[in-house]
Symmetry: C2
Subunit: 450 residues, 2 copies
């Protein structure tokens, strides 16, 4: 039993600041909690019931201790409410804002102190709460009509910023990437990245962790927990507040100092903690790791029907430290027999504008044991590429056993091919370089099989 | 009269290899040429008419010299066809492949020699041809159902690779960016990037040039023409073949050596030729420059309702060499009066999750004269942001007179807001960093007004 189990998998929840109206945040959270399977205790002195659930006037009216209390009341009321939960909650999420981020450090210190004295863990304040689709748990104050939730999956999303959390989740939904747990921990008076990393080491629903970090409270513990997690599961960290203006912005955002980025960066590099450069790189890597298991090696094969796109992919491989080795003589001969003279049997393999769907599968069939990962590039503006490419590549992937990603250029049939590929577990990207960065995530975190 | 006018604005066109069927490349080109306003002479010995147009059995049957001849016949036939056009064409596009890119350098040399002797300019071989929506001219062998053409606009797209050309055009269509001229010049026996740069200096339909270059034939002339063009119009260059594998791939692609990238890079930097790093950066910059006129300065104001997103944008400004200066004291006071206490009146301005549409306009109104460019970030997963944001920002932009870009995070109403903003000329990007890179393109190419 981990101290954060009541947070991520509570059996009972109290919601302080529940409302009957979905036009209010307390109503949005209430509505989102209706899917929860455990006991739900909304607290609101004005109603006997809210959305069909019996409501309680006071915290003291709740008939039993809860695993998780959610507080969504003005900042000034929060200390009083927290005290009422002494001995009656294991974890508390303070979603309210109005603390250190607006200069109210005294109030925030009081929240921390009450939590320490009462012995419960606190997430927040000024935070978005959590989403655990494996338990149908959703404490967000954003309605599903505005933030489309990703399906259940294997990626844990850990973000200090609720904004970035919601942007990542929206983008992951769009990318068809599934989530194991998502949490926005805000000002982090208690629960912070290190606690979450430690928890996720043992979480069997989580295979990948992506983390947005503005400030680190305890550098030593951060490194230790990040390393421990990295050894078991791919961990990607996006650190923000890199320049003077970013650091100032991060400070007004959560009231915590971002610290000198150079220090963070060199420590991360030294200890093998994988940093990504920006939002898109985090998303692209998360998508790849949501779709496929990482594996070892750095030898990449590029199969394209657009010469220039293959060159851009090869360039990006170089930048990412991946190799694009030539095709072995004997396999080259076999491919020359299979293909017309004008196909370029090299790496990248260029199937040219005269390509047919099946040519990709033929090339993959010959090259599958020679490389560690594959980039498929299809420009479907030529007739030889049809919607069948999706189904053909899906079958080819089934027995491949190595990472494979795709770039499908914009065209009249791109959406259909993308659907088929992504349903088959091949992540599709909008440019050659992004596809290579997706593959890089899959090849960076793999271990050589024993 | 420029020597390339007959290429970009021909009054008459001959198509050698025309076909009656849209299932053949010669039929696709024929179909695409039907929109052309001038004289069209399809050549095909088997038909008297093709798609309603009188056809000719031989080149010699064409009753008058043409401005432009398009050749779409097997490589071995090309020299013979070219000879027939001696004195009967001003420009020729050889779309056929099967030349240096498959080792047929002798055949390619012959093509060059014939062109020199005959005195006409040759584009290609192994190329995609051109698209000039201002003249309804489209010689591509890709049907509109597969490659959606961008509308007419101010961006010229110059690409050695037909693949990259088609990817860029497809993506620009998706980005609602308009095109003045687009050309894929392939193996470049004659017309190459320098000729095109020189031509575009004086082309009044073109305000921006984006260029994908694999190899440069004449480095001195490249630098000279790129500089001359850069001084008049924003020019963005994506150079590929950067690493050993990319260079090898570029060689098999067009049969020209990519050259040492380091040399290219240092020369470009020295002469102020703006390089972009990858496909996405080229697209994002082209989109910004298609929407708005560039202007001078580097002082950026970020207005957001998501704290973390603002921090990422500020970080990217730093990486791009842009400043994010604090708000002047007196304006800060005015904004504090307008806004609730918990809004963070700083740069970035953080309107928080409690934002309303009109807050963006209020902030812009106070800050408009203080900064050189604006990044609007909206996370429309809170109720306070509605579809009205599009119309409000559109009006605010009308009198702004400075570059403004937006990042609208993924949500249930993002598509509608994006439509409104982009119709009003505000480019929308999928991440804070991409929005900043778009703004950077607008601020890099501006000149201080006299």
């Amino acid at each position: 039993m981990n101290a954060l189990d009541p947070l991520f998998a509570p059996r009972s929840i109290a919601l302080i600041g529940a409302s009957h109206s979905e036009m209010k945040l307390g109503g949005v959270v209430m509505k989102n909690l209706l899917g929860f399977n455990g006991m739900l205790y909304p607290v609101n002195p004005k109603y006997d019931e809210l959305m069909g659930v019996k409501a309680f006037a006071e915290v003291s009216d709740i008939p039993q201790p809860v695993d998780l209390a959610l507080i969504l009341r003005p900042a000034q009321e929060v200390p009083g409410i927290l005290k009422e939960f002494r001995g009656k909650a294991k974890c508390v999420i303070v979603m309210s804002s109005g603390f250190a981020e607006v200069g109210e450090t005294g109030l925030q210190d009081e929240v921390r102190r009450i939590g320490e004295e009462a012995g419960f863990r606190i997430v927040g304040p000024n935070c978005m709460g959590l989403y655990n689709p494996h338990r149908k748990l959703d404490t967000f104050f954003l309605p599903p009509s505005r933030l489309h939730r990703p399906k259940r999956g294997n990626v844990a999303v850990i973000s200090q910023s609720g904004a970035i959390l919601s942007c990542l989740l929206g983008a992951m939904k769009e990318a068809r990437a599934g989530v194991s747990k998502a949490i926005g921990y805000g000002n982090a008076v208690d629960v912070a990245e290190s606690d979450l990393f430690e928890y996720l080491v043992g979480d069997d629903k989580t295979e990948v962790v992506v983390s947005y970090v503005e400030s680190v409270r305890d550098g030593r513990r951060f490194v230790q927990s990040a390393r421990e997690l990295s050894e078991r599961k791919p961990l990607l960290v996006l650190k923000s507040g890199k320049g003077a203006s970013g650091q100032a912005a991060a400070f007004s955002h959560t009231g915590r100092l971002a610290g000198r980025y150079e220090v963070f960066h060199s420590i991360a590099a030294q200890w093998g903690i994988r940093e990504v450069a920006d939002f898109d790189e985090l998303l692209d890597a998360a998508k790849a790791l949501a779709y496929q298991r990482p594996s070892a090696g750095g030898r990449v094969c590029i199969i394209t029907n657009g010469g220039g796109s293959g060159v851009l992919a090869a360039d990006e491989c170089m930048r990412q430290g991946l190799q694009v080795p030539s095709i072995a003589e004997e396999i080259r001969d076999r491919l020359h027999h299979l293909f017309p003279d004008f196909f370029v049997v090299n790496n990248p393999v260029d199937l040219t504008a005269q390509v047919k769907d099946k040519d990709y599968v033929a090339a993959l069939g010959e090259l599958r044991d020679e490389y560690d990962g594959f980039v498929i590039i299809a420009l479907p503006n030529v007739f030889g590429i049809t919607e069948n490419l999706g189904a053909l590549l899906a079958s080819a992937k089934a027995g491949l056993g190595r990472p494979i990603v795709a770039h499908i250029a914009e065209s009249g049939i791109t959406g259909k091919i993308r659907n088929l590929l992504e349903r088959a577990g091949i992540p599709v990207y909008a440019s050659p370089e992004r596809a290579v960065r997706g593959l890089k995530a899959l090849l960076s975190h793999g271990r050589v099989a024993k």
